[in-house]
């Protein structure tokens, strides 16, 4: 482990933690612009997290330790994931500890705990949200794995930094399989991040909630951590997508400081474009009934499997 690698690891984690709420604010701002409303401040998520951290936490009387521990576990899992996904550089000492499958496992860990905590209190909305979340999750996870396997097949490794290095070095060629995988990944990301075709992040109607229903009982620092963790999750998914499909600008190999610092503006530009695309998708599509979700995610799975099969058949 080199010192540069260690430092770039730390820098990347810090950037993920700092930029994640900003990405959330940017997406909200784009959504407001696109639907012709006056936009909230770009810094609103930071202010909300700060406000929540200063409040006193209220915990339900019958809450078990799981309920208290969950925000920390979820936040920790998302931080680990942020350390694995190469967003600035591929020379990440920590990323060798976990490959893409472990990454999907980290997301699953967070999901399981947040669902457990939602059921822990015993309110109707909590368990309703938890069940829906698991319902969406078990459909989205295989599709996500298939997308990652397609990338692994092309690059011959399940480790994300190696995949990115292979993709960044390859000659320019048309990969139909990657196009399919990209569409499938977009659909999975929408479902996993509780975005509009599957879930509405801005809803106030409990009966239609998925993610929001699970965190209704949280307050103050717990809620702040969970909000921050969901911002991190969105950031992580965006970075996985960028790393797999647009790996340009990421500092490859044992990079020097100049390359890493050059990667930061590229990352921000790509994230801004991705956030705008997300807002555009959300504005253009309507929320589906929950029982249409299997069809939506089934299509994502189908596309991912097709990507893999086409890759096997055509070798591209």
């Amino acid at each position: 482990m080199t010192l540069t690698g260690f430092l770039s690891q730390l820098l990347q984690l810090a950037i993920a933690l700092l930029l994640a709420p900003l990405l959330m604010g940017w997406v909200n701002q784009c959504r407001a612009w696109l639907s012709n409303r006056s936009a909230p401040s770009l810094l609103l998520p930071y202010r909300m997290i700060r406000k929540l951290f200063m409040k006193d936490a209220v915990v339900a009387e019958h809450a078990s330790p799981i309920f208290r521990a969950t925000p920390y576990i979820v936040f920790g899992a998302m931080c680990c994931a942020a350390a694995i996904v190469p967003s600035l550089a591929t020379d990440l000492p920590f990323a060798r500890a976990a490959d893409t499958i472990a990454l999907v496992g980290l997301f699953a860990l967070a999901r399981v705990f947040i669902a457990l905590a939602a059921m822990d209190i015993g309110t109707a909305f909590g368990s309703l949200g938890a069940r829906r979340e698991m319902f969406v999750g078990f459909l989205a996870e295989p599709a996500l794995l298939m997308v990652l396997f397609t990338a692994s097949l092309i690059s011959g490794s399940t480790s994300l930094p190696t995949i990115v290095e292979t993709f960044a070095h390859r000659e320019i060629a048309i990969y139909p399989s990657l196009a399919f995988a990209g569409v499938a990944f977009t659909m999975v990301s929408l479902a996993e991040n509780a975005r509009i075709p599957v879930d509405n992040p801005a809803t106030h109607l409990e009966l239609t909630m998925i993610h929001e229903a699970m965190i209704l009982e949280y307050s103050a620092r717990h809620l702040a951590l969970i909000e921050w963790a969901s911002a991190l999750k969105l950031f992580n998914y965006s970075c996985i997508g960028l790393a797999l499909f647009f790996p340009f600008g990421i500092a490859v190999g044992a990079a020097d400081w100049l390359a890493i610092l050059g990667a930061a503006p590229a990352l921000i530009a790509k994230l801004a474009a991705g956030g705008f695309a997300l807002a555009l998708i959300e504005t253009l599509s309507a929320k589906m009934r929950i029982f249409r979700a299997p069809e939506f995610l089934g299509t994502a799975f189908l596309l991912a499997v097709l990507a893999m099969l086409v890759n096997l058949l055509l070798g591209s």
């Binding site: 000659e171 048309i174 196009a179 089934g298 189908l302 097709l306």
Partner: protein, 222 residues
């Protein structure tokens, strides 16, 4: 990975698109969108044929690309749309099996035909031989669409898209059939479409619907 020439990469991309469109047709519930998808499939086929023609300098393939464009992108969809307007059908397509299950069966079919095509493709010497599996898969998917649909029009669209798949198979395995054969098939498809159009009216006159399950009975009044 062997670097393919650009035109072969484009053909691979279009082949993948063809497969995707076959799946989209399988999942589509509305008749009019189904026909639009069929037209899109024809367009992908036509463009890929033109690219094969350009890449391999086979002049007669330009003709068949043009023929595909005229027949399958413009004429047949126009005929079908007109037919739908005349029959005044707006219903959603009903399948015998629900959409996710159909998709899963479709994936199994794709795996099957990819495996089937692999040894055959080894025998071919064309640049596009790898796409033979995709062509077979789209034939199979069209079959599946004909089997799982209950109404007459989607079945006919399935039949037509099967012809698309066969055409693509011919292009990818042997750079296309002789022009005479292609002209003959094109004429067959056109005439078949016209006759089936007449059939639609007859079926509806007889049974008051285009649901083909009425035709399973041999006698009236059972």
């Amino acid at each position: 990975m062997a670097a393919l020439p650009l035109y072969a990469q484009l053909i691979n991309l279009l082949a993948a698109l063809l497969l995707l469109l076959a799946f989209a047709m399988l999942a589509q519930r509305r008749v009019r969108s189904l026909i639009d998808l069929f037209a899109a499939q024809g367009l992908a086929l036509s463009v890929s044929t033109a690219i094969v023609a350009f890449g391999t300098h086979q002049q007669h393939l330009y003709w068949s690309a043009g023929l595909t464009l005229f027949l399958k992108v413009l004429l047949l969809p126009w005929l079908l749309h007109r037919l739908i307007a005349k029959l005044d059908v707006k219903w959603d397509v009903e399948g015998l099996i629900n959409v996710p299950t159909t998709m899963l069966i479709g994936i199994v079919l794709v795996v099957f035909s990819f495996n089937l095509a692999l040894p055959i493709a080894q025998l071919a010497s064309t640049v596009t031989r790898a796409t033979l599996g995709i062509a077979m898969a789209s034939v199979m998917l069209s079959f599946l669409m004909m089997i799982t649909r209950r109404k007459a029009i989607p079945q006919v669209v399935g039949f037509l898209s099967m012809e698309n798949g066969l055409f693509f198979a011919a292009t990818s395995a042997t750079y296309g059939m002789p022009l005479v054969v292609e002209l003959g098939i094109a004429l067959d498809v056109l005439v078949g479409m016209l006759i089936l159009g007449v059939f639609f009216f007859q079926i509806r006159e007889q049974f008051d619907s285009l649901d083909l399950k009425h035709m399973e009975k041999l006698k009236e009044g059972e």
